[in-house]
């Protein structure tokens, strides 16, 4: 099997996604959406649903396309390229959780709704910002056929729009997952968070002794599968974002003059821009290597491939965002300049699901110890 494979079906998906995001998410619309309560215009979301994107990894028996998560990569990448906000990533993650860990009843309840366009979300991280998904403080106690959940979760994306939120909590001393329906949340359970990437809609979810039927406890608790999905989709967003910010830099370097020369002719700007290009090429290659491993079911190499993609991409995108601001000079210091949008996106991506140092630390035993 080839190191990197990309099917005709994936190629078609990519062409659609590239085209869609370019048209639906020009930078003025990204800026306008920042002022809106939702991360995406409902009409645009409906178009994404019509394209089948919310059901892309939902098995066919539940009304989805039944494709691999690798097929969601070109979509997340194209959205990252155009800084498009939307519940796509959180919905796809929740879908993965339900597929890998939910029992038949929960799958039947939620997957058809998701495929039909109801957003979903995940509530994993807590106040201490720990990236280890199984080290959590929230907990639920079992009383007969009822769960009593006490939880404070952070960075829950697009929570008010989600039909279902999959929440992690300790149950009997083990990290488990619970699917909560939107209408089960008490008023005031969700509070909007201020996060660095203004295209996001991030919420704190807080409940105290919330009673839930035990049937909402997911059968499995495959946190590794959820992390894998998150790393793949985040790496895709970063790869797209890197490409986007590189375009912003090149546009400025080829149109702005200083001392009568296009500033792109100065090596102090040109050479780091080349470094950013090469870091993008690396990022995209790690990304599609990881996607290929996932599609091929190559479990041996998948974890390392994903952590490499996240580590390399996090550093590269943050560097590119930082340099993009710097290279724009005085204009770069203004909110009006698009560089800051990408820098903020890069910082978001870097600090969700583990930064470069975190993943390098986990890569060491995978790569160095036999």
């Amino acid at each position: 099997m080839a190191t990197i494979e990309f099917s005709e079906e994936q190629t078609m998906l990519m062409e659609t996604a590239v085209d869609f995001c370019r048209k639906q998410s020009p930078i003025e619309r990204v800026r306008a959406q920042i002022e809106q309560p939702q991360s995406v215009d409902p009409a645009v979301w409906q178009e994404m649903v019509n394209l089948g994107w919310t059901g892309i990894t939902v098995p066919e028996q539940y009304g989805g396309l039944g494709l691999s998560l690798a097929d969601a990569v070109p979509i997340a990448e194209s959205m990252g390229r155009h800084l498009m906000g939307s519940p796509f990533v959180s919905t796809t993650l929740a879908t993965q959780a339900l597929i890998s860990s939910g029992g038949e009843a929960l799958r039947e309840r939620w997957l058809p709704q998701i495929a039909a366009g109801t957003p979903a979300s995940m509530a994993l991280t807590e106040e201490d910002g720990n990236w280890n998904l199984t080290e959590i403080g929230s907990f639920a106690t079992l009383q007969g056929d009822q769960l009593s959940l006490t939880a404070k979760k952070c960075f829950v994306q697009d929570a008010p729009d989600a039909g279902v939120i999959v929440v992690s909590a300790n149950v009997d001393g083990r990290a488990r997952l619970i699917a909560i329906a939107a209408d089960q949340l008490p008023p005031g359970a969700l509070t909007r968070e201020t996060v660095i990437d203004e295209t996001r809609r991030s919420y704190t979810l807080e409940v105290d002794a919330l009673a839930l039927p035990v049937a909402q406890l997911l059968e499995g608790a495959d946190f590794a599968a959820i992390e894998r999905a998150a790393l793949l989709l985040l790496s895709a967003e970063m790869s797209g974002g890197l490409s986007g910010v590189l375009h912003v830099i090149i546009d400025y370097l080829t149109t702005r003059k200083q001392f009568d020369q296009y500033i792109g002719s100065y090596q102090s700007l040109k050479h780091p821009t080349v470094q950013i290009l090469l870091s993008l090429e690396a990022c995209r290659s790690h990304l599609y290597r990881a996607a290929t491993c996932m599609a091929q079911g190559n479990a041996t190499e998948l974890e390392a491939a994903l952590r490499m993609a996240k580590a390399q991409g996090s550093e590269a995108f943050a560097f590119a965002g930082d340099r993009a601001v710097q290279f724009h000079g005085g204009f770069g210091f203004t909110y009006e300049c698009d560089a800051q949008l990408f820098l903020r996106r890069a910082l978001w991506c870097q600090y969700q699901f583990g930064d470069a140092a975190y993943h390098r630390n986990l890569l060491a035993p995978l790569l160095l110890d036999d």
Binding site: D128, N130, T194, I196, S268, G329, G330, Q340, Y351
Partner: protein, 400 residues
Amino acid sequence: MSVTQAEITEFEEQADRWFAENKPANPGFILPETFMEVGTDQQFEFLRNWQQKVYENGYVGMSWPKEFGGLGMDQVFQDIATKAMAKHRVPFLPNTIGLNWAGPLILAMGSQEEKSRYIKGILSAEDIWCQGFSEPDHGSDLGSAQCKAVKDGDEYVINGSKIWTSLGSYAKYMILIARTSTDGPNKYAGLSFFLAPMQTEGIEPRPIKKLTGEYGFCQTFFNDARIPASCMIGGEGEGWKVAMATLMFERGAAGGQAGGLAMMDLSIDDVVELARRAKRNGKPAIEDPRVREELVDLITEARGNSHMAARDKVPALATDWPTAISMSGKLRSSELKRRMCQFALSLQGANGARYVSSDAVDGGLWQRSYLNAFSGTIGGGTSQIQHNIIGERVLGLPKG
């Protein structure tokens, strides 16, 4: 004036006590770190009140003449008071341009009448000052200023615009460089210097939204704005000379500043302290070997910078390139600050992605500081331009 050691010791204790007792409580919103970052009325009023209180209690303008509102004391007392402010990490005094640029200039070159009119308001923060040197597209090259001042009777008519005007919306006066002539022997010869009243028809400061999402700078537009000819300080065409003198005051090289804390700057000690509190994966960040190595590296760099300043005072230890240290100060400190703040985010785990809000570590101070740090690496000549300048003027490398 001769000052005894006993007086010094007594005043040190007094100042230390006063700032300990009067340090303002946390206002419940995040404060700016410098006068260039005042973004809300709330922040401005808080800081203006603080300066007023400091002034009323005699801890700023201590060495300025009594007749204009100062205390006429020896400079040593002001230095002690300023140190006490830094030690207790109280807020900075926001009228920076007045205290460190305009005030010393007026005291040195102004008339009796000008001193009476301006000085006290500078100290009490009643009259806020701003600075009008930079222009759009000309960066920090003063000589290229295009903003025009044309004499018409006993007025000058100003047209053009100035950029990066801090506190522009709050200022009563601006120290303004404008071009009164275009046919001098060089581009510096046609400049003049004004103490311009901002409440003038035709002067409009428009706030610029920064990449932080906050305000703090204006672009100030002049549209047939008429100011009295008497606002000029120094003669017509002497603006460059006056500006250079002002910059000397700003750098403290000539003394004469009113004193007082000018910024609440983050230091590497703050980052170390953050590393003790902030958590990565449930453990204090400072326990992570990689974090420790990076902190050691940053401390080494910061100490290197401070040792450079000390070494620069020993002529025998000036290297083959004796201007290297003084010419590189801004480049070194601004780039270090940017990297330091950037690194500080990595100490916070997933919370690195938060922004200014009560949920964020230190209220989002580090995220905001990182974005604000670009003002240092961009303003006053970008780091790229600084490299050119040092390469060419210090090392003698050929121009590009």
